[in-house]
Amino acid sequence: MDFDDTPDEAAYRARVRATLEEHDAELLHVRPGESADARLREAELRTTQRVLAEAGLVGVTWPREYGGQGGTLVQQAIVVQELARARVPTLINHIGLGMCGPTVIAHGSDDQRARYLTRLLRADDVWCQLFSEPASGSDLAALRTSAVRDGEDWVVNGQKVWTTLAHVADFGILLTRTDPAKPKHAGLTMFVVDMHAPGVTVRPLRQMTGGADFNEVFFDDVRIPDAERLGEPGEGWRVALTTLMNERVAIGGAGSDIGQSAEALAAHARDRLPALGADQQALARQAVGRALVAALASRYTGYRRFTALSKGGVPGPEASAGKLGGTAAARLVSDAGVRLLGDEAVLGATADGDETWQRAQAHVPGIAIAGGTDQVLRNILGERVLGLPPEPRTDKTAPFAR
């Protein structure tokens, strides 16, 4: 047992750190725990990713033939840690890098790979993932957006929702229904869609936090050439599983925090605890201690996954426990952070205008939904890790359009 880097990891980390220092002036920076709004800072975010890509820090695990570095998941995790340390915000193309790109690599044509992947790595094109719909969230395979073959094209009609980055995206991977007579999982087909094509309308959705990071996207007779299909017609579910497997790698966490960190809470408590009355201090300390324990439990469990990856393991369904535990910790951390505000806890911001903890509190419900709700994750863990039987499902075999 050893929490230090191996010599190889240490050398790689030093190289990454030196590269980030060298390019520091060209990179966008944020305060700890903050993200950058793509709506307001799109140009800087694109530039930041391009600089990092040219320095070899983007697409770490992608094969070299597609512009990646051919590196390991551990190297990828080291880059993520070092970017956080340097206070560089999440890369603008994180959806493309984590999900869309790997799907194009696995299922795209040579022509698609040549046209898209290098530009994706450099954020010359930003990508989004068009899966969820108003009537199909957790039950993704119930989606209704239709694609109908017409000559060399497909004609798409329908609506997607909760689409992160659609407002700045150039391309998306789009899951559609092409054969409603088949059972729900069997009639789906995946495409690459040009987000600037006629008939694509993007509208921002304002979240309960007040921000607008995601969107609804409408498709009205949008024509997609057959050459932009990913995988065979009817194989869309299998293609989508590739995407979702990669999402698990992206958000399973390997010792990184979801939401505000334990250190941020401790610093906040140092700042605000003395201002509370004695009884309130005792209660707030309980909340802080409980939150820190949960955050540490989640962090050290992430270190175990990181270790498994570094020994050549592949993230399995147990990675879902990382998001579940991380979400629970984020809930406790944000709650303790708000409680420390005392009387100001009931306001949207403190007297000096800081809304860090109120915003963290309002983000938690979204964390517990995005990328697999807490309930879907519990089903995955219960069925695929603990081996408990699934609920009976009659919708798996019946034709979708019944």
């Binding site: 047992m1 050893d2 929490f3 230090d4 880097d5 191996t6 990891e9 334990a262 250190e263 809470l265 401790a266 408590a269 140092r270 605890l273 005792a282 300390r285 309980q286 802080v288 201690g289 409980r290 820190l292 324990v293 949960a294 540490l296 439990a297 989640s298 050290y300 469990t301 270190y303 175990r304 990181f306 270790t307 498994a308 570094s310 020994k311 147990e318 426990a321 579940l324 535990g325 309930q375 519990r378 089903n379 863990l381 219960g382 069925e383 890790v385 603990l386 081996g387 408990l388 039987p389 699934p390 609920e391 009976p392």
Partner: protein, 330 residues
Amino acid sequence: MDFDLSDDQRDAAAGARAFFTGSVSTAAARAALEGTGAPAPGRKALADIGFLGITVPESAGGAGGSVLDLAVVAEQAGAVLAAPSLVTAARAAVLLESAPDLAAQLADGSTALAVLDGPVTGSAPSIDAADATLFLGLDGGTLVAGEGEVVPGRPLDATRGLASVRLTSRRVLAEDAGELWARARAVGAVALAAEDLGAADRAVQLGVAYAKEREAFGRLIGSYQAVKHMLVDAWVGVEQLRSLVWWAAWAADASPAELPLAAAAAKAYAAEAFERAAETLVQVHGGIGFTWEHDAHLYWRRAKVDRLLLGDAGEHHDAVARLALAGALG
């Protein structure tokens, strides 16, 4: 980073699992509760296989191992509710660092030791004190050993050997022993969290197994999300507890400055994760889980007792917060 057990530790865990499952059954815990038998495997068997001396130096007849070596064994002991506790062995080994003669008697099992919590003139119920003949306690700031008058009280969990003790003789082992005492208590808390890890893990396994065989409303109860999600939450708690136990046990030897924070985190989490696992075990079984003859309440009893020993979750949450405010997170 390599945050995993070594091959040797995995082998040791497998060996310990074989020993404990071969020498202890929950029938022993039930018999002890009914006053018709002694807790198993007992001090002599634990000494003979070397488990009481894992962290005792080789020069004093121990194995000279690490607290992590002890924790992987303690996990297996916890899974079968074994007694006496490795908490006593872990804690006494720290306290007896400068008393090799007594450390040797701890390791070879020739003396039945217990460590007293609270004043030596009338201690709090302390682990393994009921059958002990020599007691270690903190008298003011002085570490003392002595004989005592033992008042067991009616056990809630008979495998813990809890008793209050009034020392009737005192021999000074060390002056100004406050820091030593605190470190020993932290190491004891790690061992307790490790035993709780094993017990909680076993409780989840028993609950999952039942959910895979019991039918209601025409299907297996484990297929219902209400049951499934309860078991998953308990399992996630066990896995997160495992991470904290490993970290705290590692810190005890490799990074002593981290021990107070890590031990408090592990003990606080253990208290609640084991309690949830045990309550889930009862609930998943329904009526049968509430009966005396089912094993569920034996785990439940251990959980209800352990959560309060060596400081409850509230005390340790407070400690974690105070340490973090003082800069323990770096």
